[in-house]
Amino acid sequence: MDWSSVFNAGTLMNTFNTATIVILAGLGCLMTEQAGMMNIGIDGMMTVGAFVAAVASWAFNSWVIGLLCAVLAGLLTGLFYGVMVVRYHSDEFIIGVAFNIFAVALTTFLLRTVLSQSGSFHPASGTVQNLPYLSFGKIGGSDINISLMVPLSWLLVVIAQVFIYKTPAGFWLHASGEHPESLRSVGRNPEKMKYIGSVICGVLCGLSGAYLSIGYLSTFTEGMSAERGYVAVACVIFGRSNPVRVFLAALLFGFIDAAGMRMQGVIPPTLTATFPYVGTILMMVLLALRNQAKKRGKRV
């Protein structure tokens, strides 16, 4: 096997491009995680964002409007999650899993019944406007194009890190999950913080979905999130809700995905497609083993 075909500038570009889906969703997920809620439903939020972005970008012939609509749709999904979990105390897992099924069903239904297309969105007239690309020319034999969303997502990682660890609001968000009663005693409403966490989560997942359909690809396909939302949840657990660590975990996922794609000449694509999922599970197992070893160490 020629390793230079697997590890080169092109792989690095693919790593960044793929990882961005998980980075954005992971940032969203960690906002709810910080507020003490485990949001399994980010996969569905991404699906909704992806659908809305593709359709709006096509309908208004503008990626800006596509992105804005996806953010708005994400905001609504986040609000829905907040209402169900915070206001009505529904089981987080049931809501999450049901929301993922709901999102795929709703977008597929709309695609088939309203847009009269099935499988993926290929409008007869007009085009789905994509997010702009930053072109770096040829490096090592492959064209290096990076979506605008990639550096934007990195910026968001920094912002999230500062927000959570350096601002009072970030502190309250964390406290609303960890010590809601202490937060209440200093005159802050933990429920409000949880709502804010859910809504930010929805917005970021909407962005992630938009990037998926009008950045990473240039159309919407049924069930296109392909469980990447769950990978993002795994990255959040792995990164212990710390934005920078979640970012690194997402990059690792992106690298496994990209390297797998590059190995398709040697290993059948149906097998390389499993790499990111296997990698994610192994990541979680390694973390759990390390945590257990630490605990044992403390006891002794």
Partner: protein, 354 residues
Amino acid sequence: MKSKERQQYLLSLAISVILALMVGALIMLATGHNPLEGYGALVKGAFGTRRAWGNTLYKSFQLCITGLATAIASSAGIFNVGGEGQMYLGALASCYLGARLTGVSPWLALPVCFLAAILSGAVYAWIPAVLKVKLKINEVITTILMNSIAIYFCSYMANGPLKTMERGVNTGTDAIDKLFRFNRLIPGSNLSETVFWIAGISLLVWYLMSATTTGYEMRLTGQNERFARFVGLKADRLGIAGMLISGAMCGALGMFECFALQNRFKPDFSSEFYFDGMLVAMIMRYKPFGIILMSFFFGALKMGATGMQSQTGISSELILIVQSIIIFFMAAEQGVVARLQLRKTRREPISKGG
């Protein structure tokens, strides 16, 4: 469940189902369809012909076994979202043997295939179960990712090493020996002899869950793991047992699907069958009797939806939307009831005072 609690639950369920169907009607209206026509086509699609009846009945049995598979794992405290993958592996293993054991008496071959199916399903469910009880790794994430792994792996096998040489078959393993296949009960429909097996397994699991000590201990573990440990139950073992049975049931369904309907393993044999049953189990809050009963209602909805799609052009996904809305309502039910009661108690003193 206490009788008052049960009454409230049944009332909420009925309201949720009706409201969700109304939302479905609104969606039809919004997308330019007549809801009466839509639901009419749905009823006709489910019960219009003998063939439709057969398909509806089979779908119900399928929902029943997958719903109970979700329920038994959930009752022991593990949420098995990975039934789809377990089903794929069970199907692949049994189909491989079903094609290889040609010449062997069906009396020997079928049990061997069945064993292979339930073992592969159970082993694949065992992995996330052990990760959950020993390492506290969230099972929802592992099981759903393992679905993708299993489906990709099986599709690789059916397109690669195990691909049949038969002409006219694009993807799939070798055909299962004719002697091992199940006969259809209503020609042209999906209803086959497998329903007796499914019924048998379902009754067994129902009995296990509601009438045995093990079932009771599992429920105790699922409801309050710390308490279960405190009274000396082996909570880890019960959780794993629940997942093993759940995986075995999914594996068995994988075999039934292929041995009765596909006649070989094809990577597209299931259209997320497990998730349909899982939704029923979630709606019925993992109560085995409720799942068995409501399987027939949701089976009719599901089968009718395909009829509705071909008759009126309304995508059958609508029923999936309706089902998830029922779950949203049911999940929020206790919170809503509590809020209503709170409002009532707040209002009462005022009305008395006035």
